[in-house]
């Protein structure tokens, strides 16, 4: 069963308090981010129903938002998600090669997750880092000026971090 911890609940209340009384639905986007971060990196139907209940709105109001915005994952994703930008300015600086290289190196296509559940490769549209292209988002941060060597280093770094957490 999904349920926010005490700490997550405090954050939930902080988010809702920013809006006028009775307008708690406004907190839906930030609350879905919190839920996704709290419950395994994606939004299951159970998680979305839970959010609906907390915000006192109907489940459909949550589903329609979760399916609209590209940052919400509606199926499980790898521990590390490489979101590589493929829009014009990044393309001019070689993002196609970077995407192909990551795919080859991990043995997956964009949209897929490695069998060990470690990595997901996702192509995304412009993330506002055009001057530092090619780039990807990894968790909360951007990795910019990507080269094949940098990609190798990032993959190693993820594997090491994962091993140290186990």
């Amino acid at each position: 069963m999904v349920k926010f911890s005490e700490e997550q609940m405090t954050e939930f209340k902080r988010l809702v308090a920013r809006y006028p009384e009775g307008k708690q639905k406004s907190a839906l986007l930030p609350v879905l981010h919190l839920a996704q971060d709290s419950f395994g990196g994606w939004l299951s139907a159970e998680t979305m129903d839970y959010v609906a209940e907390l915000l006192q709105i109907t489940p459909i109001e949550v589903y329609e938002v979760a399916t609209f915005y590209s940052m919400y994952n509606l199926k499980p994703v790898g521990k590390y998600m490489f979101e590589v930008c493929q829009t014009g300015p990044c393309m001019l600086r070689g993002s196609d090669d970077i995407i192909a290289y990551i795919g080859e190196k991990l043995g997956i296509k964009p949209g897929e997750t490695t069998a060990d559940g470690m990595f997901t490769l996702k192509t995304v549209e412009c993330l506002g880092a055009c001057g530092y292209a090619p780039m990807m988002q990894l968790g909360k941060h951007y990795r910019e000026h990507l080269t094949k060597e940098k990609v190798d280093a990032i993959i190693d770094e993820c594997r090491k971090t994962a091993a140290s957490l186990n």
Binding site: P20, S26, L28, E61, S70, E125, G128, H141
Partner: protein, 451 residues
Amino acid sequence: MSKKLLLEKAHVEGIRYFDVYRREGGYRSVEKALKEMSPEAIVEEVKKSGLRGRGGAGFPAGMKWSFIAKPEGVPRHLVCNADESEPGTFKDRYLMEFIPHLLIEGLIVSSFALGSNDTYIYIRGEYAWIVDILEQAITEAKNNGFLGKNILGSGFDCDIHVQRGAGAYICGEETALIESLEGKRGNPRIKPPFPAVKGVWDRPTVVNNVETLAAVVPIINMGGDEYAKIGVGRSTGTKLISACGNINKPGVYEIDMTISVEEFIYSDEYCGGIPNGKKLKACIPGGSSVPILPANLLLKTAKGETRYMNYESLADGGFASGSMMGSGGFIVLDEDQCVVRHTLSLARFYRHESCGQCSPCREGTGWMEKILKNIEYGNGKMSDIDLLWDIQRKIEGNTICPLGDAAAWPVAAAIRHFRDEFEWHVLNPEESQERNYGLAHYADPIHVPVG
């Protein structure tokens, strides 16, 4: 050397923190505005400054402010549009990341002018780390008496809240942003009613871009008339340009709108020229939505005059031979780039980002992507080029919000100026898979059809 009003202090060590920012003269405009000025006087200064919206549309900011309705007993809201998503644009990110207090300062003064006690920053979801930077700056401002109750004893209360989006270009459109702020899908609203009358939670709302609100700080400090002296004509003040693509020095530059496009691209103070001695092929000067221009029309207008980096000069010639200042996202293509491929990439972007409300945009963006894909990958027909032209014309002007136009214009301009490159792809399906077309044989700007 261009005059800097926004980024002058951006590289002072520790400027991200309140103490350093304050020591460098920060928050003076709040003191001046709240102690010496009335809200109406602030609106008047902004009007006098000639400041135009820096998000892309270029609408006069002071005029937008003066439209806000003031019904008795109904709260009003200022919303800062930090949903920067136009490909090629990364200036707001830079400002928020390096000098966040400038935005907070501008927001406090603007909130006072508009009577907003609860002001929201709607920031694109991917800028997750910047949310922390902004919230830190807000907390510091609050701890130092510049936010919260009775700011500087003026009787004015103000809080600023940061709301993260979740990945939708469309939420940069102000009514879609308002929908999103209310916890809904980012479907733009039909106007009227305009947000100034009925915005977030049906309350009067003003939505302004990050850079616009930051520019309020120098306007209050120096006065609207002084600010208006910088720049040229109706392009007053300074503008942040985010330069990217095939240039030696990509990055964010603050310009005073009197420099030429040629100087901006080739001088070492700005882009530093094209890498590896390549030639300039084309440029999209104001974010991916604005028309692409071939090198000859970029550097000089159709009349043969020097083109400058300002609203009027970039638009000189209309869409037949000019472009737009837009958001200031400056994308440079060198001679090795393929215009068809680049246009396909942008078409895919707009298809991905269409909210799906209006059929011309929902269907049209998908068709354009498919046709461009066929042409790019050697399966195109000559009639496809006219079909593309026809589709983009049927999208333009036929949608609730400007995303339709934004999707149509790049395709239209690519065909208008680079039709020979499209034809070459169709006639040489195999060769076009092996190599790119190279420098274009530019169309005569005087005789191009205007759609």
